[in-house]
Subunit: 280 residues, 6 copies
């Protein structure tokens, strides 16, 4: 929560810097206005509260009235929210607020389309750590708003033993033995494997989750047969909206996709500002 | 420069938090390794220095050897750079470094494709303020690396009089008169107009730059005729790589496009890490 | 705006540190008081809002009532403003608030005297970057309050090509050609020259503004003749209130003076505090 | 020490912001240069180490060679110091470094002139808390460099009981009794009085230091007679370089003067930069 | 005050990090609740205002109702305070608030027991700089709440000449002469000595306070005889609650004890939270 | 890692503030010295690297030579480490460095004694979130150095469903169903129960870990029988070194104890400083 406020502060500073030389010179401080944020394309909205905070950091007196809540699908040309207050504040915050809202809604909309393509499938779609630096908490939130789930938040809240760890430790078994006793008892261990031999070793070593990394469909199916429910199965690597359906049918528990965050584009959202009166 | 170091710090903190519980428990502190960053698709590289800084914030002893410089086109599977040092540091910094590099190179690559489509045209392509909050300086840098130019950095270093300013001031003429005398003599004034009447008023008021906002090709051509070189002309609104060529042929001086930054996707870059030895 | 709040925070911390050991031990927390800020000499007031923020950072419940607005001339012994609230807060904030107000009003008063000496002259007086480190935005604001205008805010919002740039690039023409295409189209280019040859080169290269640095009156007049309206002319170097009149008559567009900020002294402002009651 | 580094950081950020658009576009990154800082008038130098730190924050590779040490008197046109390194870094840091050096040396020079006027007098000249917000530690350092001494650094390291404290507590005696037992045993108590009755009360209450505030010479003499060595005597209020001598002869122990800091002007110091070679 | 808010911010961040994954997933945002903080053992309460600030940093709408004030003795099972507001906020802040309150009350309770053991003795018990890093101001506050007094806050607000200083300066006399003239006139000088010879030298040099470091009772008595009221006497080193009484009878003015802060344990305080209703 | 550097910075600032007025006035800047850190009682050392960082933040040129590594048992009077460099830096950093080292080693020593009392028992001893605000990462590190393990680091990296969560959700079953699907697949769920009925419900709901809160030995044994290995069992509440042995024999998997951190006292460690030469 503190970290989001901090990012908003940075964002306002980089845009406003030593001052908005247009607005400060043209708009009297006492003028009031109203801003209507409009969806310029169909979208799933995410980031309403961040939008509110952008304006509140500039002026605590702003009034913020959303017509929707995060996760709602909004049709083109609908008014997403209204914000009322000093005209200067609306103009100062407009671009930054939209930049947040367009990006987060972009991710939520993107994720929703993935989710729709696997509706009714018994598989969990999760994100990765491929997020915009500085935006981890926000983007993972937008993923949840879109309907998917999160993988670990960072390196601190889940164990994922990768090839480098395995190589240095001299095999999966050694790595598992080495780490098991040191972890909090609330943390599970996931092991990344790239072939069936790895799958067998991870199973024997007692991995809670086995990540099948960059395997083709055939090999995935064989791996899942081998695992046979003794461990949670995650499929990872090169997941696209096209391959998603087929992967979902393999019987894997989890599919992870970096594309959920790193390939989402901003959706088009704009703001119409009206002043309540003129400079005197 | 300070602000980039600060963003890197935030990015490392959000990924590492209270510690990398996998690596700290599996990799001895004294092990060394080498990481090779590889282009997994053709791309224009941008952000090499930021990548270096990510690792240096973790450990000043790291050795960083780029094979290219920002702006270079790199073919698929080429090694972009090598980084050598403590294995722990490579594993700690890997994801954050790649997240920076993939995004910035994504923008540079995207911008380069736009530039290629207007090669030999006598028009300047510029970005907008539609950047990722927190990333303004970095993304505008990546735009330059890709070959396009920057519009103003923020609200502080250029005047852009928009419809709201005009409405409050009671017309373009009033607005121009009101602001002219207050500005630094090093700043130009741009006025946004959406019809030919606006163009005429802006011309008469002595605007340095006139932005034709969301006009169709016909109207743009008429506006440019009307302006006839007495003011710099910028075209803005809904610019895509498809419309770019046609817009470039109108004779406008400048085309601005938010898509340069907000619609670029991350390019695929990965890191292969090898340890020089094993845990003892 | 964030940066001003940050400077106020630093200022309060350096004065209060681990606590006001006099007041905390002598004044009960619940006592209320009123403070009257008095002009001890004639002055132009600047910084009222900063003064308010100083007290509000200590206690949001403070009531702040200014009798004037920034830019007003105030006679000796007039009450500038009243501030009401906890007596402890008044005593804690008094010195810091006055230190801000005395300095900013000092600059505004100083600048006003310069402006009065060139009243009716058709020339613009501007400041420089010779400001107190940490105070750039505040001091440039006080300059505007005093009636003069600002040169660029920093290195980021205007181009000023100086002798070092010219020497490295191999002449004014080369420098101009090198930079022109890289800049935002909203930024003008100023070139600093120290002789008539420089003036000619800058003219030919198409400088938007030519700064005549440290020239005597005769040479300035010749330069202005030569330029003949084809470029904006700025006079710089050793400008004092005594030379101002003569310089203003040369026909230059702009006179810049570091003395506006670096040679202003603080004006005398004090605060009378009355408690509404006594310790019980 | 941390706080000075922080002020330097703020100062560089406010000057450089999103980048030095002149230098970054004109000076190649690999060019080296040398900067000579020159005294343009006779002065007492103060702030050499801060100057070094300004450049080192930009680039740790800079080489810094002072010809003098803080407190030295320097004649006009002498070279104060040389700084060598990347030409870009010299140009980036020049103005900020000089702004620090000019101000601190201005105070040291100003204080030195006060000290010279009371050479051989057995009195201690001290500063006040009337310092530039954000600069307390630096300006108090410059006062010491100039030869005077410091009063308390802030509200935290010394007790000064003023009229408001006395009024609320119901007299000097009550105030002294109230606070004595609560303080650290390393802190002395100073009481501000404005008439002889106050002097008597402060004496009886056992004040360590008595501040005679805004008294005329006659009254000061009577007060000092009355005190007769039983308490340290400080004279305060409206002290100028003209009144200093007469005040010093009253036999007071200490004279405090806000003018030491708030009325010092910046001394003239400039920097000549030479590049070692040209852009290729 | 700023520093305490900053420590609270750090504390909340380290506990909450990227979010309370239990509460955010189980407790609806609109649910309200009430928390009762209960003393689980007899204690002296300290830190009520910090506790309030913890919750207010999370949500300014919280209502905070203490039943006691800092310094009050509270019996087992009494309700210390109530806090009302969003259930989520209560659960988020509970542990951090208690961690502050338990530690500060632990110190106050510990100090109170020391004070009780020397009730009626004419000696002042003070703390040292042996405080938890980051907690100096808070722990010294808790010491005062417990009834003891503070030694200097840090290295900046009092002079304590120790063996290293003496050795480097070539004796106590030299050290005193060297420093006397440089200090603010509001600061006293304390000299640490470990034998009677040191006592004599400190006396002759005019030390305001003499610290008898790690002397036995006999030597302390001889030293105090020798000093005979000409200097304030502080006893230091290995002070425990058992030795306190005997030390107090030596006639020393001050006894300092690091144990007041570094050996206090947290007292047991818990929080009962009740929700006003259920998830719908 | 950043957070520890930040705490060190705060700690140095609160101790040094505006400067060490004793040392700066008595010890020449060029004097060198050596400091020997000595164990004044038997202890388990923890925090060597933090100690190094304290001195390095003051001066990167310091030389730091530990004779032990974290976790080593050290006998009374042994030299723990040596630090060499500027005498001023040794004196500036001494207290802060020791304050860190005494506290962290205090925890490690305390934890080691707990561990020794259950040597050979097949149970895991873990800490809680009852840590000093600001010190979470450091104190949890000291716990591991002492030989015990960590529970979750904060609210972000493990789920612990407590009575409030259960009450609001309408029972354990509902709570489990509500949260299961929303969590990362790397996080386990622990449920806190206080009676056998709770145990049954938690078992049925599929809790990964069941925390038996404040149960007596008999009830604990019955609970463990009931659970019969189908879930991990944690005992919590009022664990002391005396009850530890008996609790360990119940067959529980985990015993958690807030006393590991909140009831550890600082161990006695001091520093002997010798200067290599004298002031000249």
């Amino acid at each position: 929560m503190h970290s989001i406020q901090h990012l908003i502060k940075i964002a306002l500073e980089e845009d406003i810097g030593s001052g908005d030389i247009t607005t400060e010179n043209l708009i009297a401080d006492n003028l009031k206005g109203i801003g209507e944020v409009v969806a310029k394309e169909p979208l799933v909205i995410a980031g309403l509260d961040i939008t509110r905070q952008v304006f509140e950091q500039l002026d605590t007196e702003i009034s913020f009235k959303p017509n929707f809540k995060d996760g709602d699908f909004i049709e083109k040309d609908k008014i997403v929210l209204k914000v009322e207050g000093k005209l200067r504040v609306l103009l100062l915050g407009e671009r930054t607020a939209l930049n947040f809202l367009q990006r987060l809604s972009g991710i939520a909309t993107h994720v929703r389309s993935y989710m729709n393509s696997i509706a009714n499938k018994n598989v969990r779609l999760v994100d990765t750590r491929k997020t915009t630096p500085g935006w981890r908490v926000l983007e993972k939130y937008a993923v949840r708003v879109g309907g998917a789930r999160n993988h670990r938040m960072g390196l601190y809240d889940g164990v994922l033993i990768k090839d480098n760890h395995i190589a240095v430790c001299g095999g999966i078994k050694n790595a598992m033995e080495c780490i098991k006793d040191k972890l909090s008892h609330l943390v599970k261990i996931e092991v990344e494997v790239s072939d069936l031999d790895g799958v067998k070793q991870a199973l024997e070593a007692g991995a809670d989750v086995i990540m099948l990394d960059n395997m083709n469909i055939d090999r995935i199916k064989k791996a899942i047969e081998l695992i046979n429910g003794k461990s949670v199965v995650e499929i990872s690597g090169g997941v696209t909206i096209n391959s998603l359906n087929q992967l979902a049918d393999t019987g894997a528990d989890i599919i992870s996709s970096g594309a959920l965050t790193h390939s989402a584009r901003c959706v088009d959202i704009s703001m119409r500002i009206r002043s309540n009166n003129n400079n005197k």
